[in-house]
């Protein structure tokens, strides 16, 4: 067998750049989106590169990956990239190949889009496909929502970009905490302690200190070498389960989806903002999560109707006020919406600036 290799790091990206990109690296002067899904970048030299952005469910089999490679070989000299939101981009240097490429994508059911004022791919996580803590599936919810909002993927109809993200538990893998619309899997039961397993699998001090609210205490029966949970103080974050497998907190009926809205990442106009709780709970309804899909559509439509030109979801809500957001979207305001965690005070309205 060959020599064992370690610590080489990833390949240098330079190996994977197409000639046009290599030659004009750092020398691009401007871009245009010639139609939804197709970017044109022009370099100082006058050189052009066309990037055709294509939807991906992110989870790909090698079969699908090879299919994509086939297309890339045919139209892009074998050069392609993936985006920070898991679309892929076919990097076309020969403009003449654009039309045939579009036709081939259409034939293969590979939709282009995700540029400009669209809804691009939903950043998401593992869900029931590969994780041990999810309250919901990831890929299935994404598919359901994107099918429903498909008209917005391949078009530029919205007042601004709308970025949707999903995380299947409170660990929030992905940047869902700063998304226009965040879909979040939530548990709603305290962990059930399995004392037998705990004794063998977990360190008690680590388990106790994992709890941000101090809900976990050593079990009064010392012989058990286990812990108890003060259920009143538990807000189901699952951090104890991360540290100790003997504390699962799954419940098929109580788990579900929360929606948070009004986050953003870019500094464009307004600074980055956190997404904030819009709907604390929607039932977990596979395979197509109809209530989640409908609620997102409702929020999106109200946003599209109500926002000014170029206004992100966050900017729209901040302008009209959250009380109006709840009103126009017909979402009840509940105790859950009022922050009671560590920095709660900063969300309280210390002014008369509210609307009736």
């Amino acid at each position: 067998m060959a020599e064992r290799i370690t610590d080489i790091g990833p390949p240098h990206y330079g190996k994977f750049l197409s000639p046009v990109i290599k030659e004009n690296y750092g020398k691009w002067v401007s871009h245009e989106i010639i139609e939804p899904g197709i970017l044109k970048h022009v370099a100082e030299s006058g050189a052009e590169i066309y990037s055709v952005r294509v939807a991906s469910p992110r989870i790909l089999t090698t079969l699908q990956a090879r299919d994509i490679c086939e297309v890339a070989d045919k139209y892009c000299g074998g050069y392609l990239r993936f985006t920070s939101r898991h679309n892929f981009e076919l990097l076309v240097s020969d403009k003449a190949k654009l039309e045939p490429l579009k036709a081939e994508l259409a034939k293969r059911g590979m939709p282009k889009g995700g540029t400009g004022h669209s809804i691009t791919n939903i950043v998401h996580t593992q869900g029931w496909i590969h994780c041990h803590t999810p309250a919901i599936d990831a890929s299935g919810v994404v598919k359901s929502v994107m099918d429903d909002l498909f008209e917005y993927f391949g078009s530029h109809r919205l007042p601004a970009q709308v970025r949707i993200s999903l995380a299947c538990c409170l660990n929030m893998c992905g940047a869902v905490h700063c998304s226009d619309i965040a879909i979040l899997g939530v548990h709603r039961t305290p962990p059930k302690v399995n004392h037998d397993r705990l004794r063998h699998l977990c360190e008690i001090p680590t388990t106790i200190s994992a709890c941000p609210t101090g809900a976990i205490r050593p079990h009064p029966d010392k012989s058990l070498k286990s812990v108890t949970v003060n259920e009143e103080r538990c807000m189901y974050c699952g951090n104890c389960y991360t540290m100790c497998p003997a504390m699962p907190l799954f419940d098929p009926k109580k788990g579900g989806v929360a929606l948070l809205v009004g986050g953003k990442v870019s500094n464009a106009k307004s600074p980055p903002m956190f997404s904030r709780l819009a709907v604390p709970w929607i039932p977990n309804n596979p395979p197509r999560w109809p209530e989640v899909v409908q609620t997102i559509r409702k929020i999106l439509i109200k946003y599209a109707e109500g926002a000014n030109k170029y206004e992100r979801v966050a900017e729209w809500i901040e302008r009209i006020g959250w009380e109006k957001f709840f009103e126009v979207c017909d979402i009840p305001f509940t105790y859950q919406h009022i922050d009671d965690y560590k920095w709660a005070y900063d969300t309280y309205r210390t002014s008369m600036h509210f609307k009736f």
Binding site: D7, I8, T61, L63, I129, A175, H177, N239, Y341
Partner: protein, 414 residues
Amino acid sequence: MHKTPLLDQLESGPYPSFVKDLKRLAAKKPQVNDLLGQLERSYKEKITHWKHGGIVGVLGYGSGIIGRYSDLPDEFPGLEHFHTMRINHPSGWFYTTQAIREVCDIWDQYGSGILNMHGATGDLVLLGTTTDNLEPCFQALAHKGWDIGGSGSAMRSPSCCVGPARCEWAMFDTLEACYECTQHFQFDLHRPSFPYKYKLKFSGCPNDCVAAVARADQSHIGVWRDDIKIDQSAVKAYDGGELKPRGGATPYAKLDVKADVVDLCPTGCMSWDGKTLKIDNKNCNHCMHCINMMPQALKPGSERGVTILMGSHAPILEGAQMSWVIVPFMEVEPPFDNIKELTERIIEWWAENGKNRERVGELILRLGMRTFLEAVGLPPVPQSVIRPRANPFFYWKQEDFDAEAAGKKYYTTK
């Protein structure tokens, strides 16, 4: 083949279906068939069927593999082991088809044939293999030039936006910075010895296309500090409707330079009299809005560098944080030694002071910015804060009194 009536409903609809794709592979790979079977069970029971992860890995590395075991191994024997391998992606997620095919070949041989392109941190995720296959798979990949990415309490695979490779706004070479730092921290990436995870991300400009501000313990964002370059005739072309707003990204046919650009500038530092666009650059805060709207007319200035922001992470435990400004401006160039050195100083301080599972941002909050800044040798700057403190509870050190004795005044620099 397992029956999957619920999942089958996800085959229809216009968006690409992962179920359809997996089913294709299930015909060839029994473990993929089992994956669909178990997933169907989850859909029916609304609960995960993966056990709490175990620790598995490859020789000499402590990270990059996520151990995963089914809790129904009898029913779905292909999932008894179903570990993830995180493969460190190339900067900017650029590939050749050849490179992808090489990975696919290896993964077909040693694994399930399921990939994530990509994981939320940026890795090329290989989803599902057995413990036995980890090492041979790793070495097969290594011989094709690939290495494993981060996991656990380690440096994580850094990532970056497409930057200078295809974007006119990259204020520094995000791809090379990402590559250089990844290489520099190989040891820490593979051998978890930090208090918790540490993520680096690089965005070429304040649009922050890699969401660095939201999900990197250390975020690098490109910035300029001189004047925005204006092509006045192009501005007129936008105003006249010859050029489309935002390069054509919008539903709007024409840009209203006054209403859509000048009036929406967050600092109010622009003016437009119908002929000349003026910018009071001293008051511009680099939000990118005007440049985004008129990419042919406006360009960032030429004195360019990065802003370093620190501390973002997801909500566990203290609530989510975004990164905040630590160094407003740093000139950088390959091999980015100043970034590497600062990162080392920061990690050293964190490693010494951080509690188990305490992100660096939480540690800075716990010990205070002064402690942090002094430890890593950075001065206090007003750009770090959006506002100064409102409470009167501040500390003084002997060195402050010494400085006062030597003439330091707080009410004037003179």
